[in-house]
């Protein structure tokens, strides 16, 4: 085992995550990820609301932007988008 990994004496207790989610991309194994057609987007925010992984970043006004490092490709946003602005494409 690599010596750069932390030993049990130095790990925080309770098995809590000691690195930020920003540091571990959990979207690596996605097969499909969303691609947004900005011309069709009506900025309703449904994708932002439905995403089970809170992948979408949205300021409430512009086109929501998915954080693909954490998108696992479930496709819920594609189904929920009322204007078919989201299309799941093979990564």
């Amino acid at each position: 085992m690599s010596s750069s990994l932390v030993g049990w004496k130095d790990l925080p207790i309770g098995g809590v995550a000691f690195i930020s989610t920003k540091e571990y991309p959990t979207g690596e194994w996605a097969v499909f990820q969303p691609k947004i057609d900005e011309s069709k987007c009506i900025k309703c925010g449904l994708c932002w609301m439905y995403c089970p992984d809170s992948v979408y970043r949205w300021d409430g006004e512009s086109v929501p932007v998915p954080d693909l490092d954490h998108c696992k490709g479930c496709g819920i946003c594609e189904v929920e988008c009322p204007t078919k602005a989201i299309q799941m494409v093979r990564v």
């Binding site: 085992m1 990994l5 932390v6 030993g7 049990w8 004496k9 790990l11 925080p12 207790i13 309770g14 098995g15 809590v16 995550a17 000691f18 690195i19 930020s20 989610t21 540091e23």
Partner: protein, 410 residues
């Protein structure tokens, strides 16, 4: 209705003793599902909350899985949380038992020991909590209603200081439904003793910089409990948890000492209490309410000149192997009472650990395993006498068969 005698002496059964201890211990959240013989605990606490005698959130859940899940969540959110169950209920909590312990959430749970199905039996044996022995909970076994009350109060402090959840066990019906005299401390004394729950602080530099943050769910300092943890770290987390459990011995001892100062009852020596063992040749080693009867038999046999004694183990997890090795090595023979079967195992759970502890000792006693009392079967005086006689005439170890069933029809 509960009958109060002389201000502090109350007539309570074991379940009510638990409820009173919980009521006085500044508990924030109780989440429980009724199951015989634990039901009275839930009913009393529910009444206390309803009557405004207890300032806690009582969560009515749809199952034991939810009961412990809610208590676990509450504990992670910083609350002092309590739940209670028996047998099948404990079995249904299985998944969350490990999760609660592994996230170091200091939940306290009363388990009223009851036999596991099938067939259905509501009476006492220790199959339920013995099955949960590897789940990372501290386990304290109680002999009577007074001890149940005391152990429950101490459990909150032990849980919060060790950061391990604690199971306080009491024998179904034998203790849970038997009315006994229980000395109940004044509310403010218990309240001061347990205090307000303190949240431990940890450092997560890569997320929150050098600042110490509370080990809890807190929107100001978000942390993740129970994230995906694979072959690169899971093993380390488990070793850490196991090593931390060994560190709980002095804390358990200290809490008992502190409790002894306010109540006069410190149950010393904390982990196992010997009875007339100084010059004993043989002893019976066991748990919980059965040991009251064993002590009576010890007195009787002592009067007849037999050198016999009894040892009651109070804390089964963490297992006090060093103390057991030290204390038991001097005897000729030890009879371990197991109120539980480990199917296909080389003896019951208490026996296997006791005998394993003794293996490293240069002078080992003969150790017999006596499985008794399953499904609430009584262990009468004459069978205890028979066990002592067998131990006194035991000549060599190992003797066959390893498991001896006591009080069963062939």
């Amino acid at each position: 209705m509960l009958k109060q005698i002389k201000g502090t002496m109350m007539a309570l059964n074991g379940d009510e003793a638990v409820a009173w201890a919980v009521k006085q211990s500044n508990v924030d959240v109780v989440s429980a599902y009724p199951i015989t013989p634990q039901t009275i605990i839930v009913e009393r606490i529910s009444e206390f909350v309803n009557n405004g005698e207890m300032d806690a959130e009582f969560i009515h859940v749809e199952s034991e899985h939810s009961a412990l899940s809610a208590a676990w969540g509450a504990a992670l959110a910083g609350a002092r949380a309590f739940t209670a169950t028996s047998a099948q209920g404990l079995a249904l909590m299985w998944e969350i038992l490990y999760i609660t312990a592994s996230t170091r959430a200091p939940v306290v749970m009363a388990v009223v020991n009851r036999a596991l199905s099938a067939p259905i039996n509501i009476h006492n044996d220790h199959s339920d909590t013995m099955g949960a022995r590897d789940s990372g909970w501290i386990q304290i076994y109680s002999e009577d209603a007074q001890e149940v009350y005391d152990n429950t109060i101490m459990a909150f402090k032990i849980a919060e200081q060790t950061l391990f959840p604690v199971m306080v066990t009491l024998d179904g019906f034998t203790i849970s439904h038997t009315l006994q005299n229980v000395i109940v401390l004044p509310d403010e004394v218990v309240s001061d003793f347990v205090g307000v729950r303190k949240i431990p602080r940890i450092k997560l530099p890569r997320i929150h910089g050098e600042r110490e943050i509370p080990l809890m769910l807190n929107p100001k300092y978000p942390i993740t409990f129970g994230p995906l943890d694979l072959y690169d770290y899971y093993f380390e987390h488990k070793v850490q948890q196991n090593e931390a459990m060994k560190e709980t011995f002095p804390i358990i001892e200290r809490v008992h000492k502190e409790y002894g100062e306010i109540s006069g009852r410190s149950y010393e020596p904390v982990f196992m209490i010997p009875y007339r063992t100084e010059d004993a040749d043989v002893v019976i080693f066991g748990l919980s309410s059965t040991m009251s009867v064993v002590r009576k038999v010890v007195d009787e046999l002592r009067a007849g000149g037999k050198k016999v004694g009894a040892i009651r183990l109070r804390v089964f997890r963490p297992f006090p192997a060093d103390i057991i090795r030290k204390e038991l090595s001097k005897f000729h023979a030890v009879g371990v009472l197991d109120r539980c079967i480990s199917f296909g195992g080389e003896g019951g759970p208490l026996f296997t650990e006791v005998r394993s502890s003794l293996y490293g000792s240069s002078s080992r006693p003969i150790v017999h395993d006596y499985i008794y009392g399953l499904g609430g079967r009584d262990l009468p005086r004459k069978l205890i006498v028979k066990i002592f006689e067998e131990l006194l005439s035991a000549r060599e170890e190992p003797e066959s068969p390893v498991i001896r069933y006591v009080g069963v029809r062939e």
